[in-house]
Symmetry: C2
Subunit: 251 residues, 2 copies
DNA sequence: AAGTGGTCTAGACCACGAA
DNA sequence: TCGTGGTCTAGACCACTTA
């Protein structure tokens, strides 16, 4: 008998989540009150509140003082902007993604990359370049720069990159935890270079994105530069809340 | 003497935040331990932890068991993807934004809008259309559909829309709290219509975004359709964490 | 008035990191 | 081993909603 060693509040979170997703509670329904839940799970109210807080982060519920805990509209319930690779995003939509060209090499960091990764000019970084193919068409050209000290012998994993996403590899093979990222999205027209790489005419609309990924302790770890056919892709962004007031003056 | 009636943990949050931003603690420094903070603020450790949790949401700190609470790299510290209008985003970058054309009227909801806002076909919605001008150039054409029952007499506020953003107006004049939004970003080439609206040639790259905004209780409230000159604008997206594992099986 | 979630206390033990 | 944050308890009072 394996005892699941998750903290109690996470176990309760998972169970409640399953009950919500299984349809036991409908959208708009009230969950049992915190006190009742504490009773049924034989836990303190604090622990229940921790579990509910997790559900709230997932936007599966929202709470109203004096009213209760209400199950959310699932339409908006997947909320977070996770760090997902291009490949993962497409696959989650059911699109088959293959790898066209693939190179892995150690190169001196270009100035902008060195700046983003806090490196000295000329320090070596891993450069991974891939063409991504969906439905037989090359639809994206992806360039990644990675800190070599975090991913030793990356070139030996080259073949793994053909089948799994880069981020999946980083997690599974190197145990890295990607924590945060900042991405800028621009759009422009293909020039001769892009036309050649993606087998498209010039003056087609393209997305150009630059993403810097940080590890848990705030170390910048990876730069991802993607060029994607805009006629084959769209971004979905989840937004939450309004910008905060800047400081209340205490009197 | 006005006593600030914020909850204690929020007061502590604000004070710590100010101390961090004022440079009292440097990046990488450890904050005092939770117990010490409890002592200095004369509060329980639970309350301190609530305050620290808020700082963590802002990505100003991160915590490591056995180590302590560490002040974060400010580069990634603004984390959230807030619901901001085009105007607010540009203004925060120091760009002056003016309004070109502006119309406010009640119209039957187009099918797609009716779907997004949970309306019957043909129900009336407010339609707001604006050209946004920066640096003398029209750079965006923005279309908003709003639930009329939430914004009575919107046409009377028309002039206010010339100077403030729509979202600011919704908050200040109607007391609405925008809670969540989902936005899709696409890119395409200008056709004759866009060329005319924005005074640009055809076949220029444009962003096309569709945003649905939800209120606190999950009611879809507004649809924002923007067409933006891609050569004058970029999106910045903050990403956090990796997609969650799908369910652990309990044994 | 009754019931809900929000805040707060004062304790306790555990898991992890560093010395 | 010691100090840290992580989890958990059993209470208490408050602010808000609904009836």
């Amino acid at each position: 008998m394996v005892h699941n060693d998750l903290p109690l509040y996470l176990k309760i979170y998972h169970q409640l989540r399953e009950e919500i997703e299984s349809g036991k509670y409908r959208v708009g329904d009230l969950l049992p009150s915190e006190e009742e839940l504490a009773e049924t799970f034989q836990a303190s109210r604090t622990t229940i509140r921790n579990a509910l807080q997790e559900l709230e982060k997932d936007n599966l519920i929202f709470r109203k003082r004096g009213k209760g805990t209400i199950v959310q509209e699932p339409k908006t319930a997947q909320n977070l902007n996770y760090i997902s690779s291009f490949t993962e995003t497409l696959r989650s939509k059911g699109v088959e993604v293959a790898t066209g060209t693939l190179t892995v090499e150690l190169v001196p960091a270009p100035p902008k990359v060195a700046g983003a990764l806090d490196l000295e000019r000329g320090e070596l970084v891993y450069l991974v370049q891939r063409t991504r193919v969906a439905g037989g068409l090359p639809i994206a050209f992806i360039t990644n720069y990675l800190l070599p000290r975090m991913v030793p012998d990356l070139e030996k994993k080259k073949e793994a990159l053909r089948t799994k996403g880069l981020y999946q590899l980083l997690e599974e093979e190197y145990g890295l935890r990607l924590h945060r990222a900042v991405e800028t999205i621009e759009a422009y027209l293909s020039g001769p270079l892009e036309a050649d790489l993606l087998h498209i005419p010039e003056k087609m609309p393209l997305f150009h994105t630059v993403r810097v990924v940080y590890l848990e302790d705030g170390i910048p770890f990876e730069v991802d530069i993607s060029v994607i056919r805009a006629d084959k892709y769209e971004y979905k962004v989840f937004l939450e809340g309004r910008p905060k007031e800047n400081r209340r003056s205490l009197k």
